[in-house]
Subunit: 506 residues, 2 copies
């Protein structure tokens, strides 16, 4: 038994090292790579990814997993070995299910679809994307068909990103959330508008970067085992155990972009840095799922870093850095400015409250497309209608409408969006457990002390990597499965303070 496990671990180590290289190649591509290297980089990535795929899906891995089944049964369900074999069994099945011919065909398709989208978006022309999306939709259904016994065509597509979630469970969460959110959003938007012009002044890039770095360092991101660079789209790359690269974006005409993007990515990054080193060189050395990963970035970005307590500590420092720009702005003004709610068209620019509606719209449209109730050619109209009914705004062109996100154009239709809202919901439920265990956390935050919160997250979430399924993890951390109650309570409590006239009752 020991030999089989050793053999399996040695294959996994190999895979993990190749994955690290891929991680570095992607990070480099977005940060330092000279533009002329794009073509050779694409070749490098595709060759390495094929190599990893073939290492992962080789018969030997299947035979070793099969041979270790009896051993697995003898193990406690929370032991590292049990969890490794469970997780690996799932990944192996998933990767073997899809024929490699299909993978190649699909990769070629999405690559040309993505290139067409870049152009179409620039030209506001949805019509050229219709045939691409129709093909993508067909492929997405076909991909789904490789998996047995699902309840809904979107289930296998969701499961890749958020294990265990289904059309049914996501729909239940989202309809709960939407029902509570829609009236709250409308009520908030009827309140006197917050003046947040202080955020939109000239803020030199260098000082923004330095301040953002200072903040996330204080929060607990370890720069001995990580770094921060600039890239067009902020992201976190887990290059290796002890090597987490963050990137952020700076705009010199606004203050919030760099700051909150950096904090968001640092939330992902601290998750990666907090994984128990025993799990290194295995597939457990990663965050659990899209939703759980997002819960950690949103917990830091929104619950912590948009709180009044947080700025009680940091605002005087921020004001020292930008003394001219913030001369007449009080702590209270600033706190309200970074929490302004407004109905908007672009998901990635949306405030904390309305953001979820953007996600739910996309999820509902995906379901309609996959079920065949909505034709691709009618998608843009359906998009605009939903934005009008839910958010009261209508895109004036497709670039700020159906063409704004890359997700449908560079991968499956279905699966990529739900994690963003699940993350918000989970962040509040997890944070509530942290407060229950350590009620003094907000007070500590107001003194710039993040150690107790950070350690609690390491112990309860980060250290486990992906040992447990998302639902199992959430249950271990919070004592129950995911539900929207804590998140709604958090939002209502927060916006009743930000908008004092609101006095919203749940």
């Amino acid at each position: 038994m020991d030999n089989k496990l050793l053999k399996l671990r040695s294959i996994l180590k190999n895979i993990s090292v190749f994955e690290s290289s891929v991680g570095l190649l992607y990070w480099d591509q977005a940060t330092h790579m000279p533009s002329g290297a794009a073509k050779s980089r694409a070749e490098q990535l595709s060759l390495l990814e094929n190599h990893i795929h073939s290492l992962f899906t080789c018969d030997e891995v299947g035979e070793l997993l099969e041979g270790l089944k009896d051993y697995q049964k003898t193990l406690p369900e929370d032991s590292d070995d049990y969890c490794l074999l469970r997780n690996l069994g799932r990944l192996y099945k998933q990767k073997r299910a899809v024929p490699s011919d299909f993978v190649k065909k699909f990769s070629r398709h999405v690559s040309s679809s993505y290139n067409a989208w870049v152009k179409a978006r620039k030209e506001n022309d949805f019509s050229v994307m219709v045939p691409y999306l129709e093909q993508t939709l067909e492929y997405s259904r076909e991909w789904s068909s490789f998996f047995d016994g699902y309840g809904h065509v979107i289930d296998p597509l969701i499961d890749v990103h958020d294990e265990g979630m289904t059309f049914e469970s996501v729909s239940k969460l989202f309809s709960d959330l939407r029902e509570k959110l829609l009236p709250l959003v409308h009520a908030v938007c009827e309140q006197p508008e917050i003046d947040n012009r202080c955020l939109y002044q000239y803020y030199p890039a260098k000082q923004q970067m330095e301040f953002s770095k200072h903040v996330v360092k204080r929060m607990g991101f370890d720069f001995k085992r990580g770094s921060l660079d600039i890239s067009p789209h902020p992201f976190m790359a887990n290059v290796a155990c002890g090597d987490i690269r963050l990137t952020t974006r700076v705009e010199e005409n606004r203050l919030d972009e760099c700051l909150f993007s950096t904090i968001h990515e640092a939330g992902h990054g601290m998750y990666g840095q907090g994984i128990n080193r025993k799990l290194v060189f295995t597939p457990l050395d990663k965050g659990v799922s899209s939703g759980v990963h997002e819960s950690q970035s949103r917990l830091w970005e929104n619950i912590v870093a948009r709180s009044f307590d947080f700025w009680k500590y940091f605002y005087s420092q921020l004001k020292k850095t930008f003394s001219v720009q913030l001369a007449d702005i009080t702590l209270e003004d600033f706190h309200r400015s970074i929490n302004k709610v407004y109905k908007s068209l672009i998901r990635t620019d949306a405030d904390e409250l309305t953001y979820n509606l953007h996600v739910i719209i996309r999820f509902d449209l995906e379901v309609d497309l996959l079920e065949g109730r909505l034709a691709v050619k009618d998608l843009a109209d359906a998009w605009n209608a939903r934005y009008e009914s839910d958010l009261g705004v209508v895109p004036s062109n497709h670039s700020e409408g159906v063409l704004q996100d890359g997700h449908w154009y560079d991968w499956h239709i279905g699966g990529a969006f739900q994690g963003y809202a699940i993350g918000n919901i989970a962040s509040a439920q997890i944070y509530r457990s942290a407060l229950k265990a350590n009620p003094d956390i907000p007070n500590q935050i107001s003194q710039g002390n993040f150690k107790v919160l950070h350690s609690w997250l390491v112990d309860n979430v980060y250290s486990h990597g992906s040992k447990f399924s998302p639902d199992n993890l959430i249950n271990r951390v919070t004592g129950r499965s995911l539900e929207t109650a804590d998140y709604i309570n958090y939002l209502v409590e927060k916006y009743n303070v930000i908008y004092p006239e609101l006095k919203w009752q749940i």
Copy 2:
């Protein structure tokens, strides 16, 4: 035959892509990697390098090479396929000759030797390195013994870096060179000392980097297919076809370090960028040998960028950038300052003229060690004696003596040094051919026009990658094998101008 070649090329493409990843990992390690990632990076590198080694040395490659022998015979000797098969046959034989157990044992040894050296150098303590070096010497002889029919124990060690060169040919070049250099060095050092204090003032790092970048861009380094970063030791990493990363070092208390290091690395880099793209994804997509590679960096660094013509164009720009520091310094002063000759202890800081003596000392000591005529325990004394007799200076401690270079402590004894002087010799012989073909080059340089020189080098040297053996290439370019005459002529002519009283006759 076609199938076999296709199969071979597909294996080579694979290897090449993995090598690219290794290139990026090394570059990243020296530039952007967080310090905490050192251990996992070492594991990544070792695993990838082992993987590449096993891809390269697998039986299949040998069988394909064997099966293609008849085909090779039908090809013109300058055709890409012929050269590929020739080069590959050589590499395959070289890599297969050394048993993998030996490679592992040796790697472990040099890794601990290197770590011990870092400490020993800091503490000026050569004695702790004696047992390490004795073991290294034994391993170096053993390594050599895996190769048949060599004339001298150092031959196989030289051949890895400088194909075709041997103890005999290197010794002949070096004794020629030393015989001519020693009296010249002494005569130059008796001339009135050049006042080069203008170079040692405060020069802000940012402006140094910008100016250096400007210079190498003008010379022909293509920043769309390359980049420039800072690292403790300047180097060039060939990450992929169309992706050449240079690094340099900046010291704010001197002007020449960043500038000439950047130009030196850009010389290596332009070589990489100039290789014909047809050779991509094969072992031919590299420079020929240590010596030939070095000839290209030294040609640009010394022959071009320390020439009066070069600064006729650039000096006014430099003076605009550093107007305070260079206020009273004329073009002539500056040109003399960057060409000052002085007897010194540290090879990497040495001027163009004495540099060769530093290399020859090391080569001679290597030979003595390998032949058993010098015991490791007496090496430091032998070192000091040679520095005294050749350069008239004695190290006051081992850190500026026998411990100054990493080369003997991190790899074989033998092979790593000779390329530095061969490069100098070759640079002059190659440049002379360029001038013969285009006598107007110096005049063009004085107008900031490097196109003709650059194109000539692309056509005659760069584009061939490592299609030809070094000797074959030098013959194709210059019409004869390597000899010291052109280099000596170049030096004498140059220093007769820099030191007007010298009036040296060959």
